[in-house]
Symmetry: none
Subunit: 221 residues, 4 copies
DNA sequence: AATGAATGAGGCTTCATTCAT
DNA sequence: GATGAATGAAGCCTCATTCAT
C-alpha cells in the first residue's frame, strides 16, 4: 500500500505480512510460550529460516503483532468515535466498539488476553496496550468533566476501572464453557459504567444503539 | 497421626511448606512457564530431587499453590466481612480487604495476575480463582437487592465488572514504574463501584475508612 | 515355619528372604532396568532404606536372586536325575524337568530370559547360569559316550546346542500371544535332541513319560 | 526428487544413515537402556539435537535399526540360498550364512542378542526378528518333508529348536573370554541339526564347506 | 530470499544411593 | 534394624537460533 513498485520491495512486504498472519493464528491458540517458531512457520507456510530473515527474534514477532493489531483496533475505535460530539457518548461508543470487535473475533481477543500473560517483558507490551485504551477513555472523560457533563473525578483511576471492567467481562466470556453472546452484557456494563461516573439516570435510560458492528476479518488476511 | 511429637512429624510438613513457599517466590516473578524447577529448588533451598519427593509435578505445585493462596485470601475476606451486617458494606469491605492484602504484598498479587500463563488448564486455574471472588461479591450484591438497598441489576455481570475493576487497578499498580500507594486509589474506586450499582450519594459520602490492613507476610515464612 | 526362636537372628534371615521374594516378583515383570528399588520395596513391604541395610546394591540383589533361583532349579534337576541310571535318560530327564518347572512358572522363566538381558555385567550372570546347565548336560553326554551309548561327538558344542534349543522353545512360549501348553512341545523337542546325538530310533520311540511335574510355588513364599 | 545433484540431497540421507550407524555402534555395546542418546550422538559425531531432527524418539531409532539390520541379513541369506535346489541344503546354507555373518561381525550379533533389553515392546522387536529366521528355516524344512527328503515332523518346533541352537552357540561365543573361531563349531552344529531331523548319515558325512563368508563391514561406514 | 539441517542450552523427571533419626 | 526424606547425576526431549547452501 505504501510501495507500489519494485518487485523485491513488495516481496518483503508480502512475507512479513504472511508471517505476521501466521503468527497471529499460532499465538492465538497456545499463548506465547506454548507457540513454537515451527508453529508459526507452519501457519505461514514458510520455512523456519525464512522467518528469521524477516524477524530477529520470536519476541520481536510477538511485539510487532501486538502493536499492529492494537493499531487496527484503535483505528477502528477512533473512526467510530469521530462522529460523536458528546464526550460521554464518545467514551460509550469506544467501549461498545471494543466489545463488538472482540465479540466478533474471539481469536483476536485471545491474543490480547491470553498471550499477554507470557511472563517477563511481555507484561510490558500488554501494559502499553492497556495503557493506550485507558488513555483514550481518560481523554473522553476529561473532556466530559471540563464540559461539566459529569462531576469531577479522578479520571486516571476511572479510566483504569472502566477498562478493567471491560477486560474482565471479555475474559470471562472467552473462558466460558458455552459462551453466550458477548453483546448481551453490554447494556448492563454500559449502565454500570455510566452510573459510576455520575451520568444522570435519564441519560442512561435513553440507551443508544451500540455502534455499528466492527468488521475485522475473523481470519486476518 | 502416628507421631505426635515435633521433629520428624513436622519435618514432612515443614518441607512441603518450604517448597510451597519457594514456589510462591519463584512463580511470583516469572510466571509458570518461565519458572524452572531449579528456581523453586533454589528458593526453597532444597535439591531438585527433593521437590519430587513431595510433589509429582511442577504443575501440581502450581495448582496447590493457587488453591492454598486463594484459600488464605478468601478466609481473610470472610473474616473481615463477618462483622458487617449491611450487604453493601460487606461488598465494600471485601473489596477493601483484597486491595489491602495486595497492597501489602505485591508478590501475592503477581501470582494471581501474572502466573496465569502457560497455556491451557492454567487459565482454568486462574479463572476458577477469579470466579470465587466474583461469586463472593455477587452474593453480597444479591443480598443488597433483596433488601432493596440497591435497585435490581444483573449481579452476575456486575460482580464481574467489580472484580475486573479491582483487578486492573492492582495490575496497573503492579506494573507502574514507580508505584504510588495502592490505598490511594481506594476512595475513587469505592465511589465508582458503589455509584455503579446505584448506592445513594449520601451513603457514599459517609465513606468509612477501609478495614484494618491485612497482615499477610510479604515473604511467607 | 522354619524358625521358632530368637528374634534378632532370624529377623535378618526373614528380611533378606522377604526382600528377595519381593525382588523376584518385581524383576519378573519389567526386567532389571525397568524395575526400581521402590518397586522391590513395595513388593517386599519394606522401606527403601531397609533394603539397603541388607543389600549394598540393586545389582547385588539381582545377582543373588539369580544364584538362589538357579540353585533351586539345579537342585530340582539333580533330584529328578538321581534315580536314573542311564546317562541318556539323565539328560532327557534334566531337560524335561527344566521344561516342566518353567511350564508351571512363567514368572520364573521370565526372570531367566528377560531380566538377563539387562546389559553390562548381567550377561555374565546369565551366562554363568546357562553354563551351569550346559555343563550338567555335558556331563551326562560324556558319560553316555564313555559307555558307548551314543557315538563320540563334541559334547561341549552339543550341550550348548541342547540348552539353546530348550531356551528358545521356552522363550518363544513366553512371548506367544496366547501360549499353548509348553509341555506339548516336549515330545518333538525330545525326539530332535536325542536324534541329534545319534540315539537309536527304537529307543526314542519308546518315549518315556516326562518326569513328575515340578512343584515350585508360583509365588515364591 | 527436487534435487538430483550430490551434496545437499545426500546430506539428509547421509545424516540419517550416519546416525543409524552411530546408533548401531552404540546399541551394540550396552543394549538399549544403557545406551544414552548422547552416546549415539557421540558415535555419529552429531549433536544431540541433530538426532531429533531425523528421529522422533530413541525408541524409533532402535526399531528402525533392528528392521534395517534384519533386512540386510535376510537379504544375505536369501541370496546365498537362491542357488541351492535341495531344501535341506537350503536350510543348511541359511544356517551357515547366519553363522558366518555373525562370526565376522560380533557387533551385529550383539545387537541381535543383547539389545533385547529395555522392557516391553522391545522383546517384541527382538522376537519378530527371531520369528523371521525361524520361519525361513521352517519353510525349507516343510519343503524337505513334502519331498520326502526327511520324515514328517513338527517343523514349527523344529525351526525354533534350530534357531535356538544357533543362537546359543553364537551367544556363547560372544561371551567367551578368549573366543575360538566360531566356524569351528559349524561341523558339529550342522551334524547335530541335520541328524535331528533324520537326514541320512551318509548325506551328513558328505558335508559341504559352508558358503563363502559374508562381507558385512565390521564397523559400518 | 529462502531452506532446512544442525546446534546446544536448558527443562522436566527418574532413580540408585545416602543419611539423620 | 528400619524409616523415609533428601541428594544429585543422568536421561530424554524441546526449541530458539544459526548457518551453509
Amino acid at each position: 500500500m505504501r510501495r507500489q513498485r519494485s518487485q523485491p520491495a513488495d516481496h518483503g512486504r508480502a512475507s512479513r505480512e504472511t508471517i505476521l498472519d501466521g503468527a497471529f493464528q499460532a499465538f492465538t491458540k497456545g499463548g506465547y510460550r506454548d507457540t513454537a517458531i515451527d508453529d508459526i512457520a507452519a501457519a505461514a507456510e514458510i520455512s523456519k529460516g525464512g522467518i528469521y530473515f524477516h524477524f530477529p527474534t520470536k519476541e520481536a514477532i510477538f511485539r510487532e503483532l501486538m502493536r499492529t493489531t492494537a493499531d487496527k483496533l484503535v483505528g477502528k475505535v477512533e473512526a467510530a468515535v469521530a462522529s460523536e460530539p458528546d464526550p460521554i457518548r464518545k467514551a460509550e461508543v469506544a467501549l461498545a466498539t471494543v466489545l463488538e470487535v472482540f465479540a466478533g473475533h474471539r481469536t483476536m481477543a485471545r491474543l490480547f488476553f491470553e498471550a499477554g500473560s507470557g511472563g517477563r517483558g511481555f507484561q510490558a507490551e500488554t501494559n502499553a496496550l492497556h495503557e493506550r485504551f485507558a488513555c483514550l477513555i481518560q481523554s473522553y472523560l476529561d473532556e466530559a468533566i471540563s464540559q461539566s457533563t459529569i462531576p469531577p473525578i479522578d479520571t486516571r483511576v476511572t479510566s483504569v476501572v472502566w477498562f478493567g471492567a471491560l477486560d474482565e467481562v471479555v475474559a470471562r466470556w472467552l473462558q466460558a464453557e458455552r459462551p453466550g453472546r458477548l453483546e448481551d452484557a453490554y447494556p448492563t456494563l454500559r449502565a454500570l459504567l455510566l452510573r459510576s461516573v455520575g451520568v444522570a439516570a435519564e441519560t442512561i435510560a435513553a440507551g443508544p444503539a451500540p455502534a455499528s458492528l466492527a468488521t475485522f476479518p475473523e481470519q486476518p488476511k
